[in-house]
Structures are given as structure tokens and as C-alpha cells.
């Protein structure tokens, strides 16, 4: 941290600096894709269910996760100053009696994940919605973390 401040580098709020490296790698790949027209797969793997996509615009962070078949009452979302925790359970109702399974690929179980956000958030205003099996959490950035337009006089 001291190193970062001394050399004027922004402080990363991410737990691991590799996440930021991943982001840079993605941006580089995007450049190559645009130039060469071929697609490169650069997915980050956290190894924790559910897989999430985190995006941002000027005012908000957006966390999206694919949670098919999860009911909103089985989901629990908590927000702290810089993190959002998603816990829940996916239940799969048992088939009627006498049913013979040919394939069973869908899985049920509990999950829990904490997502650290790169800047401070407004924890009171976090909104979550679940539609068509996609969970979207809209996390407003804290007022001081928002970019400010500065007019040159």
C-alpha cells in the first residue's frame, strides 16, 4: 500500500493483484481481436459457484450470475462497504414416483460467494433482481468513488 501511494499508483481494492492483470489481459486480447478478427477465450476462473460477470458504468457496478431454477426466497444478498455477498441454495424438486432417469446433469446445492468491488459502494441502495434465471445486482458506487466532471475555466 505504501509503495502504491509513494509512486502515485492507484490502490487496487481487489484482494489479489492478478484480477487487475486479468482485466488488462482481456483488454489486450480485445485489441488483438479487433485487429485480427479471431476470437480469444480469456475467462477468469475463480473456482467458486456461481460464475459472475462484473461490469461498471459511471454510477454503478453490475454483478450478473446465471442461476437457473433458483427462487428469489432462496437467495440472500448482503452488502458491506466494499463487498457484496451472495448466498443461496438451488433446489431441484424430485421427480414423481416411478420415474426413470435417463440423464441427470443438473445439480442442486448450496452456494456462497463474496465479491469484492474495486471501490466503495452505497450499500443501502443495492438492488437485486432475478429474471429468467439471471441474477442482476445493481451496486451504486459511493458518491466519493464516482468520477467527477471537472470544468476547465
Amino acid at each position: 500500500m505504501i509503495y502504491g501511494r509513494m509512486y502515485g499508483l492507484p490502490r487496487w481494492r481487489f484482494k489479489s493483484p492478478f484480477e487487475e492483470l486479468d482485466r488488462m489481459r482481456r483488454q489486450m486480447d480485445q485489441l488483438f481481436e479487433d485487429l485480427s478478427g479471431t476470437r480469444l477465450r480469456t475467462l477468469t476462473r475463480s473456482g467458486v459457484f456461481p460464475a459472475i460477470n462484473l461490469t461498471e458504468d459511471k454510477n454503478n457496478f453490475y454483478i450478473r450470475a446465471e442461476l437457473p431454477g433458483v427462487q428469489s426466497e432462496d437467495l440472500d444478498i448482503e452488502a458491506t462497504a466494499t463487498a457484496v455477498a451472495i448466498t443461496g441454495e438451488r433446489k431441484i424438486p424430485a421427480a414423481e414416483e416411478g420415474a426413470r432417469y435417463h440423464r441427470r446433469e443438473r445439480e442442486a446445492g448450496r452456494f456462497s460467494r463474496i465479491i469484492n468491488l474495486p471501490s466503495e459502494i452505497n450499500a443501502d441502495q443495492v438492488k437485486a433482481s432475478l429474471s429468467n434465471g439471471i441474477l442482476t445486482v445493481v451496486v451504486p458506487k459511493a458518491e466519493k468513488a464516482k468520477p467527477r466532471q471537472i470544468t476547465v475555466k
Binding site: E19, D22, R23, R26, T42, L43, T44, R45, S46, G47, V48, F49, P50, A51, I52, N53, L54, T55, E56, D57, K58, F61, Y62, R64, E66, L67, P68, G69, V70, Q71, E89, R90, K91, I92, A94, A95, E96, G98, A99, R100, Y101, H102, R103, R104, E105, R106, E107, A108, G109, R110, F111, S112, P118, L130, N132, G133, I134, T136
Partner: protein, 135 residues
Amino acid sequence: MAETTKALKIKDKQELAPSAEQTREGLVFTPDVDIFETEKEIVLLADVPGVKPENVNIDLRDNILTLSCEVEPFENAEEEDILIEYETGTFYRQFTLSEVIDQSRIDAKLKDGVLRLTLPKVEEATPRKITVKTE
């Protein structure tokens, strides 16, 4: 059910290697399915998160059932990626059915990103007993 309390493990989405070249750009994934059979019907459950009911295509011909569900992009244009762990695209899967299906009574429901397809079996004609007459 005791087994439902186990922790879910992350599973990569299975990208489909298409046998024929696609006409449209975009990724294609294989949805996870459960298939079970009762005396009267075959039920297929498929995880298709992000699919709207109007984008589900189900086709059954020559005993081949084709599922194709398109996913519309739901990110706003001005959003910038920070962390990307999954990609979205069309869900596509084909099955060969061994049973004769009553096509007129196929029923499809989409709820919370899970497609439930009920394929009723054709009621078999009662076997006729043939008696051999002797002169």
C-alpha cells in the same frame, strides 16, 4: 432431501463444437438437462438462463428433438467489463427419441430459466390376439 445441502461446484459452460458451419456469429452452448420417463410421458428439463419464452425453439421431426434457445445480450452498451467469468450465447442440443411421441400434446414451460418439456407417449394400440383357426 439430504443431498441438496451439499455445496455446488462451479462447472464451465460446455461450448458446442458445431458439426456444420454456423450461418450466424456467436457462441453456442450445450445446456445441462435432466431427462426422466414415466409410464405416460418423457420429461426434459433444461437449464437455459437468460432465455425469454419467445426465443425458445423446439422442433421434433423424424424422432430428432432439437432445442434451440437464443439469449439476447443484456448488458448496456456503456458498461465496461471488470471481471468476466462466463459468456452467453445460444443454447443448442439435439436428442434422438426412441419412443413414439404424440406431437400434438407436447407441452413446454419456461420458468426461472428452466425449460420443462413434456413429451407424452402415444398410447399404444391394444395388442390384438390372433387366434389360429383349425379346420
